[in-house]
């Protein structure tokens, strides 16, 4: 699922706010209930007391008129009417001056005092539920706004502090390179999760470095172990050549030498592919591919001429590409060699280098297999040809490793191989800056 990617702290904050809203609403309801209950209970008690007090005063002989007032009304009932026990009534009451209903709490009771039956009512206006609710909502909103602002600001400040070890780890990982051969060393942190993460990363990179090292050693050993016997055989054959041998034997020696040549080239190419897999040639700076290309063309110019190929090129100046210089030479040499090798007599080669891409086209026979397959190892359009079938696989590998796009097309007698360099120069610059930053920190 793809969504908007928020920072961890923003996620936390949003969840916190969501929970706060729920809590505040529930809290508001509780506060509302208890405030309302408290008001009613307190008022009821007071009103009951008032009724009681009035009744006591009447008992003591105070005149009825004196006891009447804003809150207290006394009526005489028929003596025979039944006594009304003390009770509190919660009613709505039309308030003419406010022109709306107000909530009124009224305690009523009747007493038979000195032969008369009095109905005593004490009443009071109380805050209506919506008024209480409004007050509570208002104050809770303010609390919420206050939280919003404070948490919003503080969380950012705090997260910078709390997540600092995490960011350091991120930078360290970004700067980690297997070919650097040093496992990560991360600082201790007080946060358990980060501590676990760091220890895990350290262990993992350590293992990766060891694995990488042993793979590299294996490759080197394997390559060395193959190269030594090859050198022995070649030397023996060369010594044999210098001894008197028949023409028949000479042909046998030459055939053996040719196979050794092929074996040696294949071994070399496979070793290179393994080293590329191991990412041994990481680009550390951008290079001037224009210069590399014109040097490559200069080196091969003579061979083009000897082969009678017509070479056209158009090179943009100072095209900078993020690539290891050794790989640049291998890439260009393989492409140029390919264009030369699989050409036809009196053929043509066109090379166009622009800021964005390198296009090499050559005349040639119709390919026997799909052109994209020619990037696979040991795939050859013409199996009888004396090539390793690894040249384009190496090209592909170099392009993949450096995020270049490479394509191979054939149309109307022309083979076109295009390498599109990595577009996001800003990405490169960024990567470059970060790498520098890491280096500086170390």
């Amino acid at each position: 699922m793809k969504g908007i990617r928020l920072k961890l702290i923003d996620q936390f904050t949003l969840w916190f706010f969501a929970i706060t809203v729920v809590v505040l609403i529930a809290g508001g309801i509780i506060v509302f209930m208890s405030v309302q209950n408290e008001i009613i209970r307190e008022d009821s008690r007071r009103l009951k007391d008032t009724v009681h007090l009035v009744a006591t005063r009447l008992q003591q002989g105070a005149p009825v008129d004196q006891q009447q007032g804003y809150m207290v009304r006394i009526q005489e009932l028929a003596h025979t009417a039944p006594l009304i026990p003390l009770q509190v009534v919660d009613t709505l009451f039309w308030f003419p001056s406010h022109e709306h209903y107000e909530r009124q709490l009224m305690a009523v009771a009747s007493y038979k005092i000195r032969g008369k039956h009095y109905h005593i009512a004490a009443s009071n206006l109380v805050a209506e539920p919506d008024e209480i609710a409004e007050g509570i909502a208002k104050s809770l909103s303010w609390i919420f706004i206050l939280l919003l602002v404070l948490v919003g600001i503080l969380s950012r400040l705090l997260s910078r502090k709390l997540l600092a070890p995490f960011h350091e780890t991120l930078i360290a990982i970004r700067g980690f390179s297997l070919s650097g051969q040093t496992p990560l060393h991360l600082k201790d942190t007080q946060i358990r999760e980060f501590e676990q993460l760091n220890r895990f990363l350290e262990a993992m990179t350590q293992k990766a470095v060891i694995d990488y090292q042993s793979l590299k050693e294996f490759t080197e050993n394997a390559s060395h172990e193959l190269q030594t016997p090859l050198a022995v055989i070649r030397g023996k054959l060369e010594l044999l050549m210098d001894s008197p041998i028949t023409d028949q034997q000479a042909l046998l020696v030459q055939a053996a030498l040719d196979s050794i040549e092929k074996l040696s080239k294949t071994n070399e190419a496979l070793t290179l592919l393994t080293r590329l897999d191991n990412r041994e040639y990481q680009a550390t700076e951008s290079i001037d591919i224009s210069r590399h290309l014109s040097n490559g063309i200069f080196r091969l110019q003579e061979l083009f001429e000897l082969k009678g190929l017509h070479l056209d090129y158009e090179l943009a100046d100072n095209v900078r590409v993020w690539l290891h210089p050794v790989l640049a030479d291998i890439l260009l040499n393989n492409l140029l060699s390919n264009a030369m090798r699989h050409n036809i007599p009196d053929g043509k080669v066109t090379i166009i280098l622009t800021e964005a891409s390198l296009l090499i086209q050559n005349t040639g026979l119709h390919p026997q297999i799909a052109t994209e397959q020619l990037f696979q190892r040991f795939k050859k359009s013409n199996p009888s040809q004396n090539s390793t079938g690894l040249g384009l696989a190496i090209v592909k590998q170099i392009c993949d490793l450096n995020s270049f796009r490479v394509s191979y097309q054939y149309s109307q007698g022309w083979h076109r191989i295009e390498v599109v360099f990595r577009k996001d120069k800003s990405g490169q610059r960024k990567a470059n800056l970060e790498r520098k930053k890491v280096l500086n920190e170390e």
């Binding site: 030594t228 070649r234 060369e238 023409d247 091969l300 003579e302 090539s387």
Partner: protein, 227 residues
């Protein structure tokens, strides 16, 4: 010239030994770092052929040893192919040149000889082979005192031939000597034929003997009858 071959593979060291002996060199062989150190301390050598991977250590350590003991000698490294680090490191540590496995014996010999010329025969850059003389400083070639106008490749080819005179040189060996790592692009060695043909023509036109002979099925040979 006295050469110490330090190479643990016995057959490989025997190859080098045999080839160099054929050129009139005095050779000795060591199979380990230890053995080589002993020999270097006891006897003087003009040149060392040094393999990088040895059973009891890295050949590059021997370069340190040679430096610290102030042994006056030249070093040609045999490194594994593609081990770029070894080459660069070796040259930084004072080696004079390197060849990569699997090397051609004529190539190894040509490199060794070039070192020898550079370091030992400082005052005499001229190689003379009968009527042909080559000045390795100015890259000038003359036949019977007549200057010969050679291209760079033809010059390299002639020097390679004269260095490995009376030896069979395959087209492959020559191609690799002339074009190095770019022989991959050649597909076949017709170019070698072109160059040999041109060189032959230039020498004979200038009044020189036709030394370059074709060896059936294999390549060429620069025939000089030693007097």
């Amino acid at each position: 010239m006295k050469v110490l071959i330090i190479e643990d593979n016995q057959e490989l060291s025997r190859n080098i030994y045999q080839y160099l002996q054929g050129e009139g060199y005095i050779c000795e062989v060591s199979y380990s770092v230890q053995e080589a150190e002993d020999k270097l301390l006891c006897f003087p050598y003009d040149c060392i052929v040094l393999d990088v991977m040895l059973p009891d250590g890295n050949g590059l350590d021997l370069l340190h040893f040679i430096k610290s003991e102030e042994i006056d000698t030249s070093v040609l490294i045999i490194s594994a192919r593609n081990a770029l680090d070894d080459k660069i490191l070796g040259l930084d540590l004072g080696a004079d040149d390197y060849v990569t496995k699997p090397f051609h014996l004529p190539e190894l010999y040509a490199r060794l000889k070039a070192i020898y010329r550079r370091k030992i025969l400082r005052g005499d850059p001229v190689i003379i082979c009968n009527e042909i003389s080559i000045n390795t400083n100015t890259l000038e070639v003359s036949v019977q005192e007549h200057p010969l106008d050679l291209t760079r490749k033809e010059y390299d080819l002639l020097l390679y031939f004269i260095t490995n005179k009376n030896r069979v040189l395959t087209r492959q060996t020559i191609a690799e000597h002339l074009w190095g790592d770019y022989t991959e692009s050649l597909a076949n060695f017709d170019f070698v034929y072109q160059h040999v043909k041109n060189l032959r023509k230039k020498i004979t036109t200038a009044g020189g003997n036709d030394y370059i002979g074709t060896v059936y099925g294999l390549g060429y040979k620069f025939n000089v009858v030693s007097s």
